[in-house]
């Protein structure tokens, strides 16, 4: 089972667009889910929506999450904490640009790589 990918953006349009790119470039080999927008439908992120996206993309091999700006990261950390163990330690937020990171992570995941390699591949894109 391949690592799943979750895309969390402040904008649903950005999140969906990134997911479209991943699907087109990587195909259906990886579990993929996205979420974007705050609980009222404005720009922002929602812990509940992030939790659901992680559920949707869930794989026993783990899930790599790509986020955009600060609040997306904080809300994702909160979602992971709420999900709790034993799943929490198999969910990792990638410190990587959201578009390129998602595509690199999904490419790596589609080959059956473990979570740590998927995350490391995405994070190679990050400036030091």
């Amino acid at each position: 089972m391949n690592v799943g990918i979750v895309i969390v953006s402040h904008s649903p349009l950005v999140a969906e667009g990134v997911a479209d790119m991943v699907r087109q470039m990587v195909g259906d080999e990886v579990g993929l889910a996205w979420c974007g927008g705050d609980p009222a439908g404005g720009l922002g992120t929602s812990v509940e929506a992030i939790t659901k996206a992680i559920d949707k993309a869930w794989s026993d091999a783990g899930v790599a999450v790509l986020v955009d700006l600060g609040g997306a990261e904080t809300n994702t950390e909160m979602a992971i904490e709420i999900i709790g163990e034993p799943r929490a330690s198999r969910i990792t937020i990638c410190n990587a640009p959201i578009v390129e990171g998602a595509i690199m992570a999904a490419t790596e995941a589609s080959g059956g790589a473990p979570l740590a390699s998927v995350v490391a591949t995405a994070e190679e894109l990050s400036p030091l």
């Binding site: 922002g44 950390e77 909160m78």
Partner: protein, 203 residues
């Protein structure tokens, strides 16, 4: 500490002050953030108010925890987890019998939890720059009014600060000259709580 004041009036006072100042908070956030802080906080506290009867039926610490979780789920921005973590931790650390010293210890744990959640510390132009001075005031034995006054002064003191954490840090030097919206919210909440405690004392 909390035995003589009920959860309902505290939440009502906090929700009221956030609603009354939502526009100002959003203006502050438009200057150095993404312009949604007031609306987000208002939505969160409205959601907590909406569950008030259900929450108030719980023991005080449990009610705080549930209110914190509600904020996490409904605020939307990073403020959700930050303010939510504060109330959740406070609830976790308090018991119904907690005395003043115990409350200060619980408050300190809650502030530390916010710092951990935001990977931040004092001096970065954030809500922590109000929470830490409040904690100091409490440790010095200040009454709720004095703690609230300290909070307000601390929020003012974020104006000349350079933001190095949060969205405002993207602006670098341009973040100077504006009050941090998270700091402003904490000061408003502190004022609402102090007011409520005072009116209950008088009752």
């Amino acid at each position: 500490m909390t035995g003589n004041v009920d959860f309902r009036s505290l939440v009502a006072a906090m929700a009221e002050t956030i609603a009354a100042n939502a526009e100002r908070l959003t203006e502050l956030d438009s200057a150095i953030g993404d312009g949604d802080h007031g609306a987000n906080m208002k939505r969160g506290f409205e959601a907590v108010s909406g569950d008030l009867e259900q929450l108030a039926a719980k023991p005080f610490p449990e009610a705080l925890k549930a209110a914190g979780m509600k904020l996490v789920m409904t605020v939307g921005g990073a403020s959700g987890p930050l303010f939510g973590t504060f109330f959740m931790t406070l609830g976790k650390e308090l018991t119904e019998e907690t005395d003043r010293a115990g409350f200060v210890t619980a408050f300190e744990k809650a502030v530390d939890a916010v710092a951990a959640r935001g990977k931040s510390r004092a001096g970065q132009k954030t809500m922590l720059d109000v929470l830490y001075p409040m904690l100091e005031a409490m440790k010095q034995g200040a009454d709720p009014d004095a703690v609230a006054a300290r909070a307000e002064a601390a929020a003012e003191a974020t104006i000349p600060m350079l933001a190095t954490r949060g969205r405002a840090s993207f602006l670098g030097e341009r973040s100077i000259g504006h009050m941090d919206p998270g700091a402003a919210s904490v000061a408003l909440l502190a004022g609402a709580v102090a007011q409520t405690l005072k009116s209950h004392e008088g009752a």
